[in-house]
C-alpha cells in the first residue's frame, strides 16, 4: 500500500523505518535453530507435533460435550398456547372422599399447579393439602401404562371384546354383576351407571367408602325419612359443638367448613362477635386445636355424653328425657350455651354409630338448627357408602353367587376391615375388573385392569350438594395408554358416544332448564365449562318431619383395657394417595411426624408404661409399632392413623407404617373407627426412628404466637400484643432505615384464621419445585419445605392449648443473613425482598446459622436426578410437574421462600404491558392463593390503600422476634379465642 506523508518529519521517519525494516535482523536469537526454523518453515517434526496437538485437542474438546436435551418446537402451534404464559382451566377435584372446585394452571400444555376456584359457592377458592398434592398423582410413573389381563398388557380392543362377551354371558346366565364404586357425586356418571344397570339387568351398584359415614344417612332416614347427609353452614352458626368430628381437617368437607369457620373467626373488620367452638374429641386434631374449649373424651363415651346433653336440653325445653349412665363430663354449661344459641348452633359427631347420630339429630332438631344451620334441602352428596350393602356383598361373594365385579375408584382389598375375606371371595368370581390408575391391592387380584385416566385427563361433572354443579375438564391428553372408566363402561354397554358427549347430553336434558341466563344450550355449556361452576336456579325447600320416637339409646358396655381410636391424617387421609411423596413428607399438623403412622399414647399413659416417643410396643402380641406421645389424647385411649401399611401403592408408598383398617369394627351393620380394644406391651430397648420435623413442643414462655380472648379483645384490640408497643418504644438503631420507592412487598398472617391444615406447605412445594428428601433426611432435620407450620402446645399436657404458626422467610429489611454471606449471594432487592442467588451461593451456610427464624434450607445432596432420592425429580414423567418459572436447585446451595418472586414478576410485567399500575390483590402468593382460611394477606406496603397496609395498621399486628430488630416484612396477627372466663 502506498503511504502518504503529512510533513517532512513524517516523511523522514517513514523513510528511516522503511530502511530499518529492510535491514532484516531477527527479533529473537536464532542460535540452536534448525535451518527450516530459521527460515520460518515447518519441519516434518513440527507438522507432526501440530497435528498431534490439534487432533488431541479436538478429541478432548469433543468428549467434554454435555448431553443434548432436545426441546422440540410445535409443528403447529395451538392457538391458545403462548410459550411462557400459563393457561388456567376450571375443573373439579374429587377422589371419592373430598370435593373441591379448582383451577388448573397449565404451561405449554401440561398442568403444573392447582388453585382454588373462587366461583364455587362451596369451596370458595380454597383447597386442601391433598388437592394441592393431587397434581403429582398425574405424573406418577407408577401409574398403569395400559390395560392388562392377569397383569400382562393387552390392547384396548381385545380387552373390550373379551369383557363385553363375558358380561353378556353373565347376564345370560343370570349371574350377578357387581359394580363396586366409591361415592360418586357426578350426576352424569350416575345416569350412566343406571344405563349400565339397565343394559345388564343382573348388575348391582354398591358404593363403598374407605371411611364410612353411613350412620348419618341412616339416622336421617330413621328420623327424617330421607337418607341424606345435611349440608352444614358454619357461617350461620354462633356456636359449634363437635364430637370427634375433625371438620377442619378430614371430616366430610373440610375446605368448605374451614372457609366458613375462619371467616367467622377473623375479627379483622371491627366485628364484635365471633363463632364459638367447643370440641369434644379423643385424639388431638387441628379442629380440636382450633377450638375455644376442648375436652378429651373416650370415644365410647361419646354417646352417653350426647344423650345426657340431649336430656338436659330436652328437660329445659320440656321434652322427653332419656337416661343412661351419667356422662363423664358435665354438660350443663354446654346445654345452657346451646340454649342461648338456639337456631344458630351446630352439633356434629364424627361417629359412625347410628344411635349417636340419632341423638345428634335430636339435639340439632330440638335446638331448631334444621332449616337454619343444617340444610336438608340441599343435602351433601358426599359419602354415600352403604355398609350394609357391603356386608351382604361379602356374603354373596362367599357363597359364590357373584359372577362379575367391576371396581371403580375403590380398593377394598386394602381398606375393607375384612380384607382377607374379600380377597377370598374375589377368588370365586369369574370376572373381576378394576379401573385402578395404578396396580393397587385390589387391582392386583383382578383379571382385567382397565386403567382409568387421572382426573386431570378426564371429563366429568360433580354435584357435591344438590343444586350445586361443578365441571371437570381434561387439562392434558392422557399421558399413558389409559381410558376414562366411564368411557370403558359406555363401550361395554355398547354405547357409541363417548363420555364427553354423554355429559353434554345430560346437562342439556337435565340442567339447561334449571337456569335462565342462557337461551341456547351451547352457550350455557361453554359458560359452565369455562366457569367450572353452575348453581341451579331451582328453589328447593326441605320438606321434612321429625320422628321423635325413633330416638333410642342403649347402654354402652364398658370393656377393660385400652380403647383404640382410628383417625385420618390431613395429608394421607384414607390412604388412596399413599404413593404421593409430597403428602408422605407433609408433617402431620399436630404430631409433626411424616412418612409413618404410629401409636399415639397420652402423656399419662406414657408415664405409666414408661414409654417415650420412638419406643416400640407390641400390639396384641401380634405386631410391633413405634409410639408417639401425643398430648391431648384421652388417657385411656390409644390412637393410630389409617391410610398406611399399603402393600401395592407404588415404590414411595409401599410398606410405610401399618395398616389399621383390619381394626375397624363392624357393629350393627356399620363400620366403626373406634371400639376395639388393644393390649400394648413395651419392647424393652427397641426403638424405631420417626421423622419428626419439630421436637420441642412449647414456646418456652417466649412471645412468639400472641394470643388473647374475645373479652379482652373487645376491651382492648391490642390485648395480647402488649409486647409490640414495648418493643416499638425501644426501637433504636445507628443505621438509616432502608427506603423504598414504588413497591415494598409485605405479608401478614392471621393466626386467628390459621388452622394449620398444611395446604400452604403443599401449594408452595408445587409452585417452587421444592424437593422431597425422604424419611431419613427428614429425621435428620433437613426438610426442604419453604414454609413450615410450627405447632406449639401450652398449658397442661393432658389437654394442651394448640397454636399453629406458619413460618417462612420473613424478608427482613435488616436481614441478619444478608451481611454474613461472604459472596453476597443473598442481597436485598429494591422492593424489600430478601433474594437468594443460587448461582452465586457457595454453601457456607453462615446465613442459615444467622437466621433467627431458621427458614433457610440447604441442598444437602443432589435431590434431582439422584437414585438415592427416587421421587418425582428422578424420572422424566415426574419432572413434568416442575414449574418452569422456578429453577431446580443443585447440591450445595441454600434456598428459601422467595415470596414467589416469579408471581410478582409475572403480574408486574402484565401491568407494564397493559400500561397500568399493579392492582392491589392482583399478585397472590402460592401459599395465600388457595388458603382455605384466607389467613394470608400480601401486597404493597407503600400503597396506603392496600389490604396489607390496612392489616399492618391493625393493633393486633406484630412481627415475629421483633426485639431482635430484623425488621421483617412479614407480620402476624394475634390469635383470638372465644373463651368464657
Amino acid at each position: 500500500m502506498k503511504k502518504y506523508w503529512q510533513s517532512i518529519e513524517a516523511y523522514n521517519s517513514l523513510k528511516n523505518n522503511h530502511e530499518i525494516a529492510e535491514d532484516k535482523v531477527s527479533e529473537f536469537s536464532v542460535e540452536g535453530m534448525s535451518e527450516e526454523e530459521k527460515k520460518g518453515e515447518t519441519s516434518r517434526r513440527d507438522f507432526l507435533k501440530m497435528l498431534g496437538f490439534t487432533v488431541g485437542g479436538a478429541i478432548v474438546a469433543a468428549s467434554c460435550e454435555t448431553p443434548v436435551r432436545k426441546a422440540i418446537p410445535y409443528l403447529n402451534q395451538p392457538q391458545e398456547i403462548t410459550p411462557g404464559v400459563a393457561n388456567y382451566y376450571a375443573s373439579t377435584f374429587f377422589d371419592g372422599n373430598d370435593y373441591c372446585s379448582i383451577l388448573v394452571k397449565t404451561r405449554e400444555g401440561r398442568p403444573i399447579k392447582i388453585e382454588g376456584n373462587e366461583l364455587s359457592p362451596i369451596s370458595k377458592g380454597g383447597t386442601s393439602a391433598r388437592v394441592q398434592a393431587s397434581i403429582l398423582n398425574l405424573y406418577d410413573n407408577n401409574r398403569l401404562k395400559g390395560p392388562t389381563i392377569n397383569r400382562e398388557s393387552i390392547d384396548w380392543n381385545t380387552l373390550d371384546t373379551q369383557i363385553t362377551e363375558k358380561l353378556q354371558l353373565l347376564a345370560i346366565q343370570n349371574k350377578e354383576i357387581v359394580l363396586l364404586t366409591s361415592t360418586i357425586i357426578s350426576p352424569s356418571t350416575k345416569k350412566m351407571i343406571n344405563d349400565f344397570l339397565n343394559t345388564y339387568p343382573t348388575a348391582q351398584w354398591i358404593t363403598h367408602d374407605a371411611i364410612s359415614y353411613n350412620a348419618i344417612r341412616k339416622a336421617h332416614e330413621t328420623q327424617f325419612n330421607q337418607a341424606v347427609i345435611p349440608s352444614y353452614d358454619f357461617s350461620k352458626a354462633a356456636l359449634v359443638v363437635g364430637f370427634n368430628a375433625d371438620f377442619l381437617g378430614t371430616w366430610l368437607s373440610p375446605v368448605e367448613f374451614a372457609k366458613q369457620y375462619s371467616a367467622a373467626r377473623k375479627l379483622l373488620n371491627g366485628e364484635k362477635t365471633m363463632l364459638r367452638h367447643i370440641q369434644y374429641e379423643t385424639t388431638l386434631t387441628i379442629t380440636g386445636g382450633s377450638a375455644d374449649e376442648r375436652t378429651p373424651i373416650k370415644s365410647s363415651q361419646e354417646k352417653t355424653i350426647l344423650l345426657n346433653l340431649f336430656s338436659t336440653l330436652s328437660n329445659s325445653l320440656k321434652g322427653t328425657v332419656y337416661s343412661l349412665s351419667d356422662s363423664s363430663v358435665n354438660v350443663t354449661a354446654l346445654a345452657n350455651e346451646l340454649l342461648e344459641n338456639k337456631g344458630q348452633s351446630i352439633v356434629v359427631s364424627g361417629s359412625n354409630d347410628i344411635e349417636t347420630q340419632l341423638i345428634v339429630n335430636a339435639i340439632n332438631n330440638i335446638l331448631g338448627n334444621y332449616g337454619s344451620t343444617l340444610d336438608l334441602a340441599h343435602p351433601s352428596q358426599l359419602k354415600q357408602g352403604n355398609d350394609e350393602a357391603m356386608i351382604s356383598l361379602m356374603e354373596r361373594m362367599k357363597n359364590g353367587s357373584v359372577g362379575g365385579i367391576i371396581h371403580y375408584n375403590t380398593n377394598p382389598a386394602y381398606n375393607y376391615p375384612e380384607a382377607k375375606k374379600y380377597i377370598d371371595g374375589l377368588d370365586k368370581i369369574e370376572l373381576s375388573i378394576s379401573f385402578a390408575e395404578s396396580m393397587d391391592e385390589t387391582a392386583m387380584l383382578c383379571q382385567y385392569v382397565a386403567p382409568d385416566n387421572n382426573y386431570l385427563e378426564s371429563w366429568n361433572d360433580a354435584e357435591p350438594k344438590i343444586g350445586f354443579y361443578s365441571m371437570t375438564q381434561p387439562t392434558i391428553k392422557n399421558i399413558f395408554d389409559t381410558r376414562q372408566a366411564q368411557d370403558s363402561l359406555l363401550k361395554w354397554m355398547g354405547a357409541t358416544q363417548n363420555y364427553q358427549r354423554f355429559i353434554e347430553k345430560y346437562w342439556e336434558e337435565n340442567l339447561f332448564n334449571k337456569q335462565s341466563t342462557h337461551l341456547i344450550f351451547k352457550s350455557f355449556w361453554n359458560q359452565s365449562v369455562h366457569d367450572g361452576i353452575f348453581v341451579s336456579e331451582e328453589k328447593l325447600s326441605a320438606n321434612y318431619s321429625f320422628n321423635e320416637a325413633a330416638l333410642k339409646a342403649t347402654e354402652v358396655s364398658t370393656k377393660k383395657g385400652l380403647e383404640l381410636f382410628l383417625y385420618e391424617k390431613a395429608g394421607i387421609g384414607s390412604g388412596n394417595f399413599a404413593n404421593n411423596p409430597w403428602l408422605q413428607e407433609l408433617p402431620d399438623p399436630i404430631s409433626m411426624a411424616s412418612w409413618d403412622n404410629y401409636l399415639c399414647i397420652s402423656p399419662s399413659l406414657s408415664k405409666q408404661l414408661g414409654l417415650s416417643t420412638e419406643d416400640v410396643v407390641s400390639i396384641n402380641n401380634k405386631f410391633e409399632m413405634p409410639v408417639l406421645v401425643q398430648p391431648g389424647l384421652q388417657k385411656d385411649t390409644v390412637a393410630v392413623a389409617l391410610g398406611y401399611g399399603r402393600t401395592s401403592a407404588g415404590k414411595v408408598g409401599n410398606q410405610l407404617g401399618t395398616n389399621f383398617y383390619p381394626f375397624i369394627q363392624i357393629k350393627n351393620d356399620l363400620r366403626k373407627t373406634f371400639g376395639s380394644n388393644v393390649n400394648i406391651e413395651k419392647l424393652e430397648g427397641k426403638t424405631y426412628p420417626l421423622a419428626l420435623t419439630q421436637t420441642h413442643n412449647t414456646m418456652e414462655g417466649r412471645s412468639l404466637v400472641r394470643e388473647t380472648t374475645l373479652d379482652k379483645f373487645t376491651k382492648d384490640p391490642a390485648s395480647g400484643n402488649e409486647q409490640h408497643a414495648l418493643d416499638a418504644a425501644k426501637d433504636a438503631t445507628l443505621y438509616t432505615k432502608p427506603e423504598f420507592t414504588g413497591f415494598r412487598w409485605g405479608m401478614a398472617i392471621n393466626l386467628s384464621a390459621c388452622i394449620g391444615c398444611g395446604n400452604c406447605v403443599m401449594s408452595c412445594q408445587a409452585e417452587n419445585n421444592v424437593a422431597v428428601i425422604g424419611k431419613k433426611e427428614v429425621r435428620n432435620r433437613r426438610i426442604m419445605h419453604w414454609i413450615r407450620i410450627d405447632r406449639y402446645y401450652s398449658e397442661e399436657s393432658d389437654n394442651p392449648s394448640v397454636v399453629h404458626q406458619p413460618v417462612m422467610c420473613q424478608h427482613c429489611d435488616n436481614a441478619p443473613c444478608e451481611n454474613v454471606c461472604p459472596v453476597a449471594a443473598t442481597p436485598h432487592s429494591g422492593e424489600g425482598l430478601n433474594q437468594m442467588i443460587y448461582n452465586r451461593c457457595i454453601g457456607t451456610r453462615y446465613c442459615m446459622n444467622n437466621c433467627p427464624y431458621r427458614v433457610r434450607r440447604f441442598n444437602w445432596f443432589e435431590f434431582a436426578n439422584n437414585n438415592d432420592y427416587d421421587y418425582n425429580m428422578n424420572n422424566d414423567v415426574g419432572k413434568l410437574v416442575l414449574n418452569p418459572d422456578v429453577v431446580v436447585r443443585s447440591r450445595g446451595v441454600v434456598e428459601k421462600c422467595s415470596l414467589c418472586v416469579q408471581r410478582i414478576q409475572e403480574k408486574k410485567l402484565l401491568a407494564k404491558k397493559e400500561n397500568r399500575q399493579v392492582m392491589d390483590g392482583e399478585i397472590k402468593m402460592a401459599c395465600q392463593a388457595s388458603c382455605p382460611t384466607d389467613a394470608i394477606t400480601f401486597g404493597n406496603m407503600l400503597d396506603p390503600k392496600s389490604e396489607i397496609s390496612k392489616v399492618n395498621k391493625n393493633p393486633r399486628n406484630y412481627h415475629l422476634l421483633e426485639h431482635v430488630h430484623t425488621l421483617p416484612s412479614t407480620s402476624y396477627i394475634t390469635k383470638i379465642r372465644n373463651k368464657k372466663s
Binding site: H696, V807, N819, I842, T844, N850, R854, W860
Partner: protein, 450 residues
C-alpha cells in the same frame, strides 16, 4: 550481693558451640529410626481416612455430615477454630517472647513455628471442605471479573477470615523459613552427603555467616516479628467475629475477640507443651529443653487459664445481667445445665480448673503430670469450640426449630485426616529440618548455661 535467679538454666551440660551443632543436627544425619517409620505410617493411614472422608464429602455432599437445617455448622467449624488456635502457639511464642526478650524461647520457637504452619494448613482446609460447592470456592476471592464486576461481601466475617488466615499463613511460614536460613547453612557446611549439601545449600540462600548477613538477619527477624505480632491478635479476633457479629444467643458478645485470642494462645501453648515433652523424651534433648522451660510455660498457662476462667464467668454474668432471655437460656439452660452439660463442664474443668495445679512447684517439676495436663488443655479447648458452635445453634430463638447435632463418621474422618497431616508434617520436620534454632541457642549459651 545476692542476685535472685529469675530464670533457671536454659542449656545444661556445659556445651560448647560445636557440641550444640552436633547435638541438634545428629538426627538429620542419623539413620531414620524405626519409630519414625511406624509413626509416619500411622499418620499416613489417618490421612487416607481423611482422603476418603473428603472424597465422600465432595462427591456426595455435605449431607454426609451430621449438620442439619438448624445446626448448620458442626465439627467442620469446631475443628477449624481448634486448629487455628493451635496455630497460634508458634508465632505467639517466637514473636511475643522475641519482643519481650525472653531468652528461653530459643530452644522451643522453631518447633512451635513448624507446628503453627502445619496447624494453619490443617485449619485452612476446613472452611473449604465445609462449603457446599467447593468447586466455586474461588468466588470468595475479590478478583476483577466480568460479572458486573461482582465483588465479595466485604462486610462478611468469613471474607475477613480468608484474608486473615492466608496472610497469617504466609507470614508465619516466611518467619519460620527465614529463621532457619543460618541453620541450613550450618548443615550445608557440615554434611557429607552431596545431595543434602545441594538441597540445604539451595535453601540456605548462600548464607556465609558474615557480620553484614547477621545484621540483616536480625533486622528482618525483628521486622517480621513486629508485622506478625498484630496478625496473631487479628487472626483469632477475626475468627471470633464469625460468631460475635452474628445474632445468635451465646455468639453475639463483645468479649469474643480477646477471649478467643487468649483461648488460642492457651491451646497453642498447651500443644507446644505436649509436643516439646515428646521431643525431649524421644530425642533426649534434656539439655536444651530443661525443667525451667516447662516451668516457664506452665506459669504462663496458669495465668492464661485464669483469664479463661474470668472470660467464662463474665459470659455467664453478662447473660444474667443483660436480662436477655435468649442469652439466659443458652447459657443457663443449654450449657450450665441441659443437654450439653457434659461438654460445658468438661470445658470448665479442663481449661479453668485443672491448669490451676500449676500453682504447685512440685507439679510443674513433674514432666509426666505436666504432659497429662497439657493433653487436658487440648481436650478442654476442643470442647470450648464445641460448646460455642453447637449449643448456640441447637437451641436458638424459635423452639420449633430446636434440633440436636451429632457428627457422622465422615466428619470424624476429616478430623482424623487433619490429625494425620499434622503429625506427618511434624514428623517430616523432625526428620529433615533442624528442630531447634541452633544459632539462637548459641546466642544465649554464655549467659544461661551450666
Amino acid at each position: 550481693m545476692y542476685k535472685k535467679q529469675v530464670r533457671g538454666v536454659l542449656v545444661e551440660g556445659n556445651k560448647t558451640y560445636g557440641q550444640i551443632t552436633r547435638d541438634i543436627t545428629t538426627t538429620l544425619y542419623a539413620k531414620t529410626p524405626l519409630w519414625w517409620y511406624i509413626a509416619s505410617s500411622i499418620s499416613s493411614i489417618a490421612i487416607i481416612v481423611g482422603i476418603w472422608a473428603v472424597y465422600t464429602t465432595i462427591s456426595v455432599g455435605i449431607g454426609t455430615w451430621g449438620v442439619n437445617n438448624n445446626v448448620a455448622w458442626g465439627w467442620g467449624i469446631i475443628n477449624f477454630v481448634w486448629w487455628i488456635g493451635i496455630g497460634h502457639a508458634g508465632t505467639a511464642f517466637s514473636i511475643f517472647l522475641l519482643i519481650l526478650r525472653q531468652k528461653w524461647r530459643t530452644s522451643i520457637n522453631r518447633a512451635a513455628e513448624a507446628m503453627t504452619v502445619v496447624a494453619v494448613i490443617c485449619a485452612g482446609m476446613f472452611p473449604m471442605l465445609h462449603m457446599g460447592r467447593i468447586w466455586d470456592a474461588f468466588f470468595i476471592l475479590p478478583y476483577w471479573n466480568t460479572r458486573g464486576p461482582l465483588w465479595v461481601n466485604f462486610n462478611s466475617p468469613l471474607f475477613w477470615d480468608v484474608v486473615a488466615i492466608s496472610t497469617y499463613l504466609m507470614a508465619s511460614a516466611v518467619f519460620w523459613y527465614i529463621g532457619m536460613i543460618p541453620d541450613f547453612a550450618t548443615i550445608r557446611d557440615n554434611t557429607t552427603s552431596v545431595v543434602k549439601k545441594r538441597i540445604y545449600g539451595f535453601f540456605s540462600f548462600g548464607w556465609i555467616g558474615s557480620a553484614r548477613g547477621w545484621l540483616r538477619f536480625e533486622a528482618v527477624s525483628l521486622l517480621l516479628g513486629g508485622l506478625t505480632a498484630p496478625l496473631v491478635v487479628a487472626v483469632h479476633s477475626i475468627v471470633s467475629m464469625d460468631f460475635a457479629t452474628s445474632i445468635m444467643p451465646g455468639w453475639h458478645t463483645t468479649i469474643f475477640p480477646p477471649y478467643f485470642v487468649v483461648g488460642a494462645i492457651f491451646s497453642g501453648f498447651g500443644m507446644v507443651l505436649t509436643l516439646m515433652i515428646i521431643v525431649r523424651k524421644v530425642f533426649k534433648f534434656q539439655d536444651y529443653l530443661t525443667q525451667s522451660h516447662f516451668d516457664a510455660i506452665a506459669r504462663i498457662l496458669t495465668f492464661i487459664s485464669l483469664i479463661m476462667a474470668t472470660a467464662y464467668t463474665t459470659e455467664l454474668f453478662m447473660a444474667w445481667y443483660s436480662g436477655a432471655e435468649y442469652e439466659m437460656f443458652t447459657f443457663m439452660r443449654n450449657r450450665v445445665t441441659g443437654e450439653y452439660t457434659m461438654a460445658f463442664w468438661t470445658m470448665i474443668t479442663c481449661n479453668a480448673i485443672i491448669p490451676q495445679l500449676f500453682w504447685f512447684k512440685r507439679i510443674r517439676k513433674n514432666i509426666t503430670i505436666v504432659f497429662i495436663i497439657s493433653i487436658f488443655i487440648n481436650i478442654g479447648m476442643w470442647f470450648e469450640r464445641y460448646v460455642i458452635v453447637v449449643t448456640s445453634l441447637s437451641k436458638d430463638f424459635l423452639p420449633s426449630s430446636w434440633a440436636t447435632y451429632s457428627p457422622t463418621s465422615v466428619e470424624v474422618g476429616i478430623f482424623i485426616g487433619t490429625l494425620g497431616i499434622f503429625t506427618l508434617g511434624i514428623l517430616m520436620f523432625f526428620r529433615y529440618l533442624p528442630m531447634m534454632a541452633i544459632s539462637e541457642i548459641k546466642g544465649i549459651l554464655k549467659k544461661t548455661s551450666k
